[in-house]
Symmetry: C2
Subunit: 77 residues, 2 copies
């Protein structure tokens, strides 16, 4: 719920767009955050775009690929 609060707060503070980003297993939490914020808290806000990509991450065992998501919310025009 902290992430939902962060999104709602940014819109309350006048943001036109808010981007929610996550990698790996946190991706489902980014989707939850967007869905809960839109369905329960935000009015007049819609999804602008959803982008998935692959990022290279440095670990102890060398470089590995991890999926990422970016969900951009914006004011409905």
């Amino acid at each position: 719920m902290n992430y939902v609060l962060a999104v709602v707060t940014q819109f309350s503070n006048g943001a036109d767009e808010v981007a929610i980003k996550a990698r790996g297993k946190a991706i489902c939490r980014a989707v939850d955050t967007a869905e809960i914020a839109l369905n329960r808290f935000l009015q007049g806000i819609m999804k602008k775009e959803i982008i998935t990509s692959t990022e290279e991450v440095e670990t102890d065992a060398g470089k590995t690929n991890v999926s990422s998501i970016e969900i951009v919310l914006m004011h409905r025009v």
Copy 2:
């Protein structure tokens, strides 16, 4: 990798579009599946659209909401 294979197989069998769907914690696996299939195996295929939504699911403890994702892949035109 089984899901990646399933996607690649469907395109090999002549599919124009393949939709990858997941709910809850499996959402990150759907994103992984799409990313790996596109980056490593499929040529001339692109993401058509990514849709997230909220579904109501019946559990022992009653109805609960769960986030879901649908990633649609298609032939590049």
